[in-house]
Amino acid sequence: MTIAYDYKTRTSYTDGAAAQKAAHKVLLQHPFEPSLPERGYTNRTLHIDLSTLTVTEKAVTQQMKDIFVGGRGFGLWYLWQAIKPTTKWNDPENDIVISPGPLAGNTQYAGSGKSLVVTLSPLTSIPVDSNVGGYFGPLLKFCGYDALEIQGKAARDVVVLIDGPKKTITIEEAPEENPDSHVAAEIFTHQYAENDKDFVNVGVVSAGKGADHARIGCLNFSWFDPKRGAVRLKQAGRGGIGLVFRDKKIKALVVHGPKLKANMNNAVNFERTSKVGRKLAKEIHDFDDQQCKMRSIGTAHLVEVMDAYDLLPVHNFQYGKHKDIDKIHSTVWQKRFTQGIFDGCWYGCHMACAKGADCHKVMTGPYKGHIVTVDGPEYETAAGLGSNCGIFDPDWILESNFYCDTYGVDTISFGTCCAFAMECFQRGILNLERTDGLDLTWGNGASHVELLHQMARGEGFGLLVGQGVKYMQEHFAGKGWGDLQFMRDIGMQVKGMEYSQYQSKESLAQQGGYALTNKGPQHDEAWLIFMDMVNNQIPTFEDKAEALHYFPLFRTWFGLMGLCKLPWNDIEPADNAKHGKDAAKVPEHVQNYLELYAGITGKEMTNEELILQSEAVYNFQRVFNLRMGMGGRKSDWPPYRSMGPVTKEEYESRAERYDKQLKELIGVDPEGKSTEEKMALHRKWREDRYNKLCDAVYARRGWSNNAIPTLETLKKFKIDFPEVVEVVRPHLG
């Protein structure tokens, strides 16, 4: 394929890197003995306290492996021990845990380079877990650690370096480097690699200036893209981890790992892992172009699909489609993404969906005129920064994508926050005076990006938007600008976290898929819209509850292992359709994962045992929420906009559908009724259905009617530790 532009052209930031490094002041240098994993585990973890400048190692016990497995499980277990029920996100004892999981770092099976980040979230005040690509996690493991914990706070900005080849862990004050991630990741990669060929062995975690101020701050994990000669970024986006990171005065975490070789996990049966990996690679090669086109478009292939099924969030989730969809159609992104380059965010990932839009000339802000590679947009970003804010201009979407990433701001939360603010502007809750002169009319890309610049400067209305939807709801109501209940109806957050970018109004199962989650409404637990709304294959409450048992637990398993979800079901075997209604589970790929797990760890496991592994951690996280003061049925209640039409315009945009439902499902003749009367009938019916769904799901999950795991459930999963039982018992009556 011919590329009509020079995709290697971009602004460089390394000119002053050596001088900046010379300004570092070493606070601590700690020797360590690197080691490689055995059967996927190194059997030790690293703890760093930035307040006391101490470095310690912890042994990974067999009990930890048996119950918490790795990744998200290790993160939750360590966080539980690190904090108290009274701990706030910005207390020094809050922990940031990064753990790659036992299958992470294998290069045989696509999607095996993930790290899980766990901390106490500034958005939700409960634990958050975020799944991220990039090289840091696998390289950390190949230096000898199954997890890294960071507690305490540094006095001034620091870089923490784990250098395997040099056998040292160093904490250095780093006063001069620009923290914005597209700059910081490049500079630190150059500073700590031995030479150009060594760039691939360096992984950097950073968060930009936006994360200094925004509760929706994220982390960027780097990986070096040799073909482009560029340092690329993937995000641990959800839950405000970036704000915790910057509050600890961490400018960067850097790992310098050993040169990569095959089988660094020391798999028990390497050929077994290779065989199953080759099988998947062939499927991707043979079928991806006819299926999701992940290799050429990434997840942005979903943009027009969601529009066609009335699921695309438009204007703060009011509507599900838009007439200008062609302007952000996947073919538009395909042209923006440089084609013919291997875009895998870890070795061996043939899915290669980490697309890059090269040669974006920055239009605004401190990097105006710079030429940059924008990582993405993925579907969530295109929908969140695009359609949900009425922005159908790819240049503005790329601009805000770039600034979100480099400033360390989660594109999903930012999109949902802006969409909320824009609807408030539409409805007169906000006006030019209240937004400091920013015109938040739907589609205003320039104002959208200006919000990000303000967030990075820690000033203006942008700073307010960066505190999240929940904060804005209460702030606007406190000022007397709008009705709190109305803002709660239209503000798309549960537990304090913003919704990701799917319409759930017509799928009861997805309403639960979002609001019944542990950490907040992120689609990585359950995406059931097609099964429910389109296929109509889970019609009863019990059917939906079964799906809301299996899929969240199956997906939790990826987070325990250090795996990516996408190779599970964004590619399918040629004969997957033979499984009929079970095809959504992609049974052959489930078997692949069991093979991979057995091949690396030596443990044979059934599908049922896989679900049980997840279930222990999932229940533990639910109890953890309770320990932090959030839990019970009320915390699972969604905003009404996720359930049904809040406004007349929404009702009337789907009047035919809603009137039909009134007649056929609710048993009321809509003839002669006002829209307001019909909306009230719908609301009662929809809220009642949601309550019945909760009843069914809680029963299926082994929880009380108030969403509390019962003592029997804790015992079943061997998490009935005294301190866990102590949390639960008062709530069980």
Binding site: Q290, Q291, V305, M531, V534, P539, N569, A577, K581, A583
Partner: protein, 65 residues
């Protein structure tokens, strides 16, 4: 009359699977179609006739998210 994913849909003479997908705007590529319980091979949708009264299931693989 036929049913598509358990919803009624008007039937007409000569109707094919491809006609149903078009009418329903089912553009997602990862689907499995069954007519009266029989799997319809991909690539044959435009020449597979759907009889009156048929039970048509268009299973969308989960994807998304």
């Amino acid at each position: 009359m036929i049913t598509v994913n358990n919803d009624p849909m008007d039937w007409r003479d000569g109707m094919t699977v491809a006609d149903i997908l078009k009418a329903r705007n089912y553009i997602f590529r990862m689907i499995a179609v069954q007519v009266n319980g029989e799997l319809v091979p991909r690539g044959t949708y435009d020449r597979t006739a759907v009889p009156d009264g048929a039970d048509v299931q268009v299973i969308h693989m989960i994807s998304g998210g």
